[in-house]
Subunit: 208 residues, 2 copies
Amino acid sequence: MVKGNLFILSAPSGAGKSSLISALLKHESSRPMQVSVSTTTRNPRPGEENGVHYHFVEKKTFEQQIAENVFYEYAEVFGNYYGTSSAAIDEQLSQGIDVFLDIDWQGAQQVRMKKPDVTTIFIAPPSRKELENRLRGRGQDSDEVIADRMAQAQSECSHYQEFDYIIVNDDFDTALTDLVTIVNNQRLKRSQQTTVYQDLFNDLLAND
Amino acid sequence: MVKGNLFILSAPSGAGKSSLISALLKHESSRPMQVSVSTTTRNPRPGEENGVHYHFVEKKTFEQQIAENVFYEYAEVFGNYYGTSSAAIDEQLSQGIDVFLDIDWQGAQQVRMKKPDVTTIFIAPPSRKELENRLRGRGQDSDEVIADRMAQAQSECSHYQEFDYIIVNDDFDTALTDLVTIVNNQRLKRSQQTTVYQDLFNDLLAND
């Protein structure tokens, strides 16, 4: 059975990553694909379901799991832990499911060390001006808050050279086509195709 | 200026390679793509034009070009030389044109040594039975001739593991989509995108 592929999608907020992932899963609905569900110690927000949006756990549990090397990557943000549990992902991959990790450059670095065959994709906004517009959102935040978001976005962008692929999300449909191309391309590589078509090549090369 | 990518397409005869290349060039007509024109010492057949189907040269000229290391790859088949001249290809690549080489596994091996960043694609028939049907063609050839073609096809197939990508040409439209995917995927790689979007990243990362 052919394994699924592991992908990381990173982007500054405002680049449109979540919309692209949703559109990808809809577009390629005939193929098994899943977005990994992270584990976190922060409290659920209204409407968030355990096991759907996050796996919600206690801080002690999370720290024990760190000690047990359970995570492909984890980080502490404002006193809360966020992590990607490896067992669930490996299980999905072995079932032939493509798995997408929605994580930042720091998480990407950690996963790359443990899974060198991961495919990493950076999604960039089309311009600084457009990024700022998107970060301004509904126009209800102070200049200081916007400046802070912009600095964070720039920090994320500064790592674009660490990724295998770069998609610029200017026109959404083009960006989606680019993402579909990268995902489907992985399945055409020799290592995957020789597994899928083992019988065919045995047949083609048989002596009789 | 972003460079074009170099691709090798290899296949046993009967796999439908020529039709796929023609369809690709039609499908992606907005992008600059060209099939490399080989140099040969064999005589032109009726309808073949110099510089279009082949560059036709004298044997002495070809042997001098071999000595001058003019070719990315060459081979002698039934007393005639066939080769891929590097200068024309490098010029096309530097103009941003994707170049396709329609050569066999031996040529692929030679090119790979000189251009390690070449992307190599093997196109396989969907089954041995179908391959044999296609090689029988119009049914006017002897069993011996068919058996000989089949042995040649098997020899080509036996090298499938040396290629970066494998496309199985069962359904033509699917195979075409696969080929388009592989070709477009190359342009989304970081090395290319950082050249195309250098100004964008300078803009995104500017301090002001």
